[in-house]
């Protein structure tokens, strides 16, 4: 790819306001440091810079008062959790019926690792729900005092959820009337609807996360609640670390005892354990866990700086 096209693509990753101010200069610098080809080191550096600017723009990173950094760090954990949920659903789908094809003498380690994943998901979900519940009084106050315009991102999320609930019921009812083979790709109509349903759920998760970030940035939250959110965020981040480790151990154990399951090959055959879908899911988990850890550390550092207002 020509350096001009590469730099143009990289610049589009930045927020528009930032691009308007620094885009021309940064593009010139990228081209000046690239002789006919933009090095991968430069591409990675500029792409990471764009992520940092977007996080700053959303209030999830950068400087500010301790209260702002505590809030931003906790919201980064929330966003990372949303990404992790998508990856977790992928692992759940990928791992269906793994016990049935794994030799009984080799099940203890992967079973233990998988239990860590399930328990971690339950704990993190409970912590996220607690965190949301803790700011509900603030949300109630903003609605009572006529601040509906400040929470206008919520109706989109609510609307999608109202569509997703009956859609989920319909898909589950339909699935119960099908055979296992039909549910696993042999029924084209069901497979198509399932993909659309998954996209709908993904949209729900994304809109609720965006609405949560937008609304939480506008809420008046007391110092005590912010500190509680920082602690909850740390708990979520730790759960994600445990779940990522659990997934890695489960994967490694299956790669050793039942690689055919990971490759979707007949039982007992030699196969590569590096299943592309699982690899993508694991990378997504790792990115989300890293982001959550960064958010939790930021919130904790801010909490220890000085009393938040």
């Amino acid at each position: 790819m020509r350096p001009e096209r590469t730099s143009g693509f990289l610049l589009r990753l930045y927020p528009s306001g930032w691009r308007a101010r620094y885009g021309e200069e940064l593009e010139t610098l990228i081209l000046e440091t690239s002789a006919g080809h933009v090095p991968w080191r430069v591409r990675a550096d500029v792409a990471l810079g764009a992520v940092r600017e977007r996080l700053r723009g959303a209030g999830l990173a950068g400087d500010g008062t301790p209260a702002e950094r505590m809030r931003g760090g906790t919201l980064l954990v929330l966003c990372a959790w949303a990404v992790f949920v998508v990856a977790g659903i992928g692992v759940q789908k990928f791992s269906e019926h793994w016990q049935a094809v794994t030799p009984s003498g080799s099940r203890a380690l992967p079973a233990g690792a998988f239990d860590v994943l399930v328990v971690g998901a339950a704990i993190a979900s409970a912590l996220v729900v607690t965190g949301v519940a803790a700011v509900l009084p603030s949300l109630g106050r903003i609605l009572q005092t006529g601040g509906r315009r400040q929470v206008r991102s919520l109706p989109v999320a609510v609307g999608l959820t109202l569509v997703a609930i009956p859609a989920s019921v319909a898909v589950v009812v339909w699935a119960h009337g099908l055979t296992a083979a039909q549910r696993n790709g042999h029924d084209t109509a069901y497979a198509t609807v399932t993909v659309l349903w998954a996209l709908l759920l993904l949209g729900c998760l994304a809109t609720w996360t965006v609405a949560g970030v937008v609304v939480a940035r506008r809420l008046e939250i007391s110092s005590r609640v912010l500190r509680l959110e920082a602690v909850l965020g740390a708990g979520v981040a730790l759960s994600m670390v445990a779940m990522t480790a659990g997934t890695a151990i489960w994967w490694a154990a299956l790669a050793r005892s039942a690689p055919w399951f990971l490759a979707g090959a007949p039982n007992g055959t030699a196969a590569s354990p590096l299943a592309p879908a699982l690899l993508v899911t694991a990378i997504l988990m790792l990115i989300a866990t890293t982001a959550a850890s960064a958010g939790a550390v930021r919130a904790f550092r801010a909490a220890s700086d000085r009393p938040a207002r």
Partner: protein, 123 residues
Amino acid sequence: MRGVPIREKNPGKSGRSNDPPVLILTSLASGPKHGYALLQDIEAFARVRLGPGTLYGAIARLEERGLIEPVGASGRRRPYRLTAAGAEALEATLTELRAIVEEGTARLAGTGTPRVVTAGGLA
């Protein structure tokens, strides 16, 4: 008036000698420079090769805090220069770093040999 170290203007940052803001302010202390000249100068005096994204992220933060400012009209190669606040912040940061250097040098001279930190403490 004593300046505020970059670390205090930039909470959460360490203000280490190899931090991009410290390197940029140090480079601009000898006069205005545009992005490419900054990269070359920093590589020459600190042996640190900053990426374009890192450099412009730091330039944006420094400009936001009023520590540097662009010179002249906008363009593809816009030079930046230190503001008075930037010079004070750099001086304060260098004073802090100098104190650490002097302390480390004095301690090394006092013992004669470098001390090694082990799991149980100083060896």
